[in-house]
Amino acid sequence: MRWPALTRPGRAVLVLTIAVFVALALAPLFAPWITGERYILGLLARVMIFAIAAVSLDLILGYGGLVSFGHAAFVGLGAYAVGILSAHGITDVTVVLPVTLAVCALFAVGTGAVAVRTRGVYFIMITLAFGQMAYYTATSLAQYGGDDGLRLDHRSTLFGTPIATDPLAFYYVVFGALLFFYLLTRVIVSSRFGRVLRAARQNPVRVETLGFNVGQVRLTAYVIAGMIAGVSGFLLANHILFVSPAYMSWQRSGELIVMVVLGGMGTLHGAVIGSLAFLLIEEFLSTITEHWKVIFGPMLILVVLFARGGLLGLLGGRHG
């Protein structure tokens, strides 16, 4: 795929991204030599699941300029779709996955139609509000665990048998999903639609007076991002076999923003690298102290103050 001049990443960044994907693909081969194999695979699977959500957030945040502080709601909705259907004995992937996508699309259209009419801090607040609404709805669902959450018996099934029960198989399912959604989002931002979205981030009035319905474009991007994040939730529920309102908390939405910005927003690979960095740092620091947030907080502040463009910015990657 040819990249027009300004969205072509620097060479170092391109190499790093390919290296990350290759490393993720090959990690299971090296896992036995590090520490507990299951643990590493589980951790990396979680990284990749959140990377999918982060990539979807980068679409609307990095490329669209829409700072959504409620994106975790979609992850939660996806997870709860799996959980609630499972509680009623429906686990077939061919039913659960479309329901996940439909629920997220509906929520995105409903909330996005209102949110997209606002700009700046009001957009942040209203997406936060909608995220909170989803959170409180989940906590009130007493028959589905409420605050305590809901346990799943087994993974989603295909023709009656749970898919990918083997950790290795599940790992590659998630990897495949990440690769797929990364490429899909890459195609979208490089397309004509993507061009309008990116232009609207920088100069919405100009784009509007050219004849583009900016609100509609933004809403479309918002719905796409919501659906992709929903799939992330679907995978999360399948991974942990547990569903909880905490998946939708505003702190989780904040963490997603951190992942996107930490890696370098508006690049897509930044979202992947940011998720990797965030979760690995979290794991590493929590082995040092249970109070790892006391270290992570200042780290985040330092990154904001001194590392504009995130980790990729430090490497000299340009983004458009």
């Binding site: 027009p4 001049a5 490089s190 397309s191 004509r192 784009v207 509007e208 007076t209 004849g211 319905n213």
Partner: protein, 251 residues
């Protein structure tokens, strides 16, 4: 006589207690260059905003090409064939010059929800974009980030973008503002070449440019049109001279 391309009928707009547009009635004939002049604060830019749809009017109607567009959104009006430039140059600074033009070409093609066609392979669009850049003399700067252009080059890019839309009506908001003598002359030449292709509404302070280009001139003072006529008529109109009070000598 031909039906006017644009007809403004008794437009009114209040901001707080101030009547910025106070009963503007105006028509623009197809193919003409219609200049709107007036002292600062007369409401000229607001009028352009009302025509292009960025500011809704309180009362009155706007009819364009036979359609009542008074309540139509800005993007719908653009689709109907109204293009505009802005007083403070409005381009997409992070895009290259070429990509700015391509965005306009894409708008003309009315292609928004195309998720597949990748930028790199849009050969026809690239050709159309390059052609329009050629017309304003920016072809050499195609790869430059638009934010790094000089003031005059940005103005040229805005013009290219307007042309690329293949509009019926072009609204130009002080295209000569901030340009020096030489650049103004080049601009006038460029606009003269465009005269035959588009109907133009030109808001401008530079009287040399106005008198060189305009077929008709409307004079806006305190939100009202106090005179409308050919450059010769306006030059000799006593009301216009009083309104300007020596601000600009109608040479």
């Amino acid at each position: 006589m031909a039906e006017p391309l644009l007809r403004l009928d008794d437009l009114h707009k209040n901001f707080g207690g101030l009547a910025v547009t106070d009963g503007v009635t105006l028509d623009v004939r197809p193919g003409e260059v219609h200049a709107i002049i007036g002292p600062n604060g007369a409401g000229k830019t607001t009028l352009l905003n009302e025509i292009s749809g960025l500011v809704p009017v309180d009362r009155g109607s706007i009819v364009f090409d036979g359609n009542d567009i008074t309540r139509l959104s800005a993007h719908a009006r653009a689709r109907l064939g109204i293009a505009r430039t802005f007083q403070i140059t409005s381009i997409v600074p992070g895009f290259s010059v070429q990509e700015n033009a391509m965005l306009a070409v894409q708008a003309q093609l009315a292609s928004t929800f195309d998720f597949v066609r990748s930028q790199g392979f849009d050969r026809d669009m690239v050709a159309a974009a390059d052609d329009v850049l050629e017309q304003v003399g920016l072809a050499v700067r195609a790869r430059t980030p638009a934010g790094l252009l000089s003031h005059g080059e940005k103005r040229a890019l805005e013009l290219a973008v307007a042309i690329a839309l293949k509009p019926k009506l072009v609204l130009l908001d002080e295209p000569a503002a901030g340009t020096g003598r030489g650049e103004t002359e080049r601009l006038v030449e460029m606009l003269r070449a465009l005269k035959d292709r588009f109907t133009i509404v030109l808001v401008e302070h530079d009287m040399d440019a106005v008198f060189a280009l305009a077929d008709r001139i409307s004079v806006l003072v305190y939100g009202r049109v106090i005179a409308c006529g050919t450059p010769g008529e306006i030059r000799n109109d006593p009301a216009v001279k009083i309104a300007y009070l020596g601000e600009e000598e109608a040479a």
